[in-house]
Amino acid sequence: MQPTESSGQDRESPDDTARGVIVEALTIGLTTGAYGVSFGALSVTSGLDVWQTVALSALMFTGASQFALISVLAGGGSVAAAVASSALLGLRNLFYGLRMRQILQPSPITSVAAAQMTLDESTAMALAHYDRPVPRPALAFWSTGLSVFVLWNTGTILGALGASSIGDPTRWGLDAAVPAAFLALLWPQITGRRLLGVALVAAVLGIALTPVLSPGLPVLCAALVPFLFLKGAR
């Protein structure tokens, strides 16, 4: 992650100390806090009230799924379509949980809390610090999870209150910020030709089905696209 200044001589690079891990976790938390501000603002713009927005960030606590839920609802989709879209986007957390169980070996009671803290960020940090000369995967996981939880929810509250106080959100272009947010979520995930193909076919399918199916369903149909790309996967 961060370059270390001295090489070879030090047993522990600066990043590997407990303090280094916590500083890194707080930095990640601050980044997601900024992202939480945009979620809070866009959620209110999409028609959820401040309480629903705050509840969503605390209870669902997985960014892409939250964006999916609010935009399917804003587009007039049913509760079932909104829930299904966010669950499909949250499917990856199941696999993160599997890895975290192997690495952290939490007790059943700890697992209840660890499950909620299982996210892109906390998983990436735990995996990164599992491989270091001085492994601190548990500290990395929990400090990142907690830091992101606190700052993501703080950001959400600020964004939601801010957006609900500015009046007509379309005047500020906030409705157009939703697709910009999806592009920002999608962008780093397209890491190869196959994924680019998946993205293009899914986008075309989503648009093609929009006039035909009721809102929310075109996006769910796009969940079938990966099956078309299974051949030659691996």
Partner: protein
């Protein structure tokens, strides 16, 4: 209706996270499953992106949102952070509507 979606969606997402901690590994440790799981977010996010950019209920409309996405793409190629990308998108749409 909004509350139902918030609570059911949250329950579903928590359940998926928790399943990872309890399901026996052998059910998930398959290359096909891993390949699908890597592709799901891309397919869904891309379809959502397309639908919220040009969708309006059940019709397809090209308006300021498309320009906002183009501006966001430029910001992303310049490695702008998430919040900046979102603000660039919003500002572009607001500007076009002012003109």
């Amino acid at each position: 209706m909004m509350w139902a979606a918030v609570l059911l969606g949250s329950a579903a997402c928590y359940l998926l996270k928790a399943l990872g901690f309890v399901v026996p590994e052998r059910y998930l440790d398959k290359p096909v499953v891993a390949a699908l799981v890597a592709m799901f977010p891309v397919a869904l996010l891309s379809a959502l992106l397309a639908v919220v950019t040009v969708g309006d209920g059940m019709s397809v409309v090209v308006d300021a949102r498309l320009a906002a996405v183009a501006a966001a793409a430029v910001a992303l190629t310049l490695r702008a952070p998430f919040l900046v990308v979102v603000v660039v998108g919003a500002a572009t749409a607001a500007l076009i509507r002012l003109l």
